[in-house]
Symmetry: C2
């Protein structure tokens, strides 16, 4: 309200941030097609032509947005994994592995929404970013599974881990969006479903990789201090008529 003794570059930086903010809001509300220098500049409170004082063109603003958004998403994910590792017991910990990403998504849904849209849109300037982010999440998740003891020695197992990670990530995104759309009011329920999905897939991985290399002990090169690793998988390799029976070409 009182004095705003801003230096010139501070003021510039402030408008720059206002532009980015405005772009993010418009992107979320109207989509990439609704984005224009006119709208962004107006929303930020400057003339359309002044847009170019801050960015070469809209493409550049989007690139900056992608960088920052990616950073934010990744930070949220790191945080999630960290918190999950801190959980009191292994049961809560495993559930948190799914609940925390859900919560993180719901805190900044616009980032995921924008990413989901751009992922398969060839006309999107954010496509490369979206593809890279999705890949990073997938690899991160797959690495996490590997650290849990589901080692992937041969090509096929590695691919399986990747598929599980990608599938679970897709399901996580879908349930988070469903929550935001009001269909699944309780995030804990969603986390339970994801936990169950994950367990099922990992059980498959366990049993067949045990068949492929029966003498191997997956704990060997696992992450430190993960004693109980996967409380589930009771009957283990016993799942009777599982897909494992097939011996493809």
């Amino acid at each position: 309200m009182t004095g705003t003794p801003l230096t010139r570059s501070e003021a510039k930086d402030l408008t720059r941030r206002r532009l980015i903010r405005a772009a993010l809001a418009i992107l979320d509300e109207e989509g990439e097609a609704g984005l224009s220098t006119v709208k962004v500049a107006k929303a930020a409170g400057i003339a359309q032509s002044s847009f170019y004082v801050h960015f070469k063109d809209m493409q550049e603003l989007l690139r900056v947005l992608a960088d920052e958004g990616g950073e934010q998403l990744f930070a949220a994910m790191r945080e999630a994994r960290r918190k999950a590792r801190e959980a009191p017991d292994d049961l809560e910990r495993h559930r948190d592995t799914f609940r925390i990403p859900l919560v993180a998504i719901c805190r900044h849904p616009e980032l995921l929404r924008i990413q989901l849209r751009a992922r398969y849109d060839p006309s999107s300037s954010l496509r490369d970013f979206a593809v890279a982010t999705a890949a990073a999440h997938r690899d991160h998740h797959a690495a996490d599974l590997a650290a849990l003891g589901y080692t992937a020695d041969d090509e096929r197992d590695r691919r399986r881990l990747e598929m599980i990670a990608e599938g679970i990530n897709a399901a996580t995104n879908a349930l988070a969006m469903g929550h935001l759309e009001g269909r699944y009011p309780d995030l804990d329920e969603a986390a339970d479903i994801l936990t169950a999905l994950s367990r099922g897939a990992l059980r498959l991985l366990r049993s067949t990789s045990a068949k492929a290399a029966p003498t191997e002990r997956p704990q060997d090169e696992a992450a430190p201090g993960d004693g109980a690793q996967e409380a589930a998988a009771p009957g283990d390799g016993a799942a009777p008529g599982d897909g494992a029976a097939r011996g493809g070409p």
Copy 2:
């Protein structure tokens, strides 16, 4: 090559179809942002202004496209379920429930791609269509699970079935796209992963719903002739430390 004795309305219908074809191709290759009456008309071999002989505006063409595409997708899905029911043994049948949708998607990837893009894009004319299609698939899948004996009596179970269906569908789409991007060359492997994911989730559903209503026999109102229903779930309600332990509000 020889004579093309087309009646006037036949010729008109032909150009109309060419317009739709062209729009679909451009939509897939360049996205909704790349679509224009200029491009579509040119690709169909007519003048831009003649576009309006066939459609009121681009919006209308997209609506027609959505209707036809939705019909096609749904037909493919019905076909998939039908084939799955025809499979020789229950094992193959269950796997086919996942393999066939994957194959169907890969036969016409542009339809899914377009749908995935529009799903969360507020600027898309196809958004309503995409949302409706996704809901239809989810409900269809959930109904399928219910028919398998996973009855959903109370609100919570119904929601769980829906979440599983939505999660599995999202994973199916993700793996199909991954296949098309060359990451998962073998669709059978992807089907195995989906089967495993599904089994895990259904095991959860089984065990907790058995706890909630222990005397109930789910076969009662299930689809006819599904004797073996879910070969898996061996230890059944025994899964030791599953999420079922939690009794949230």
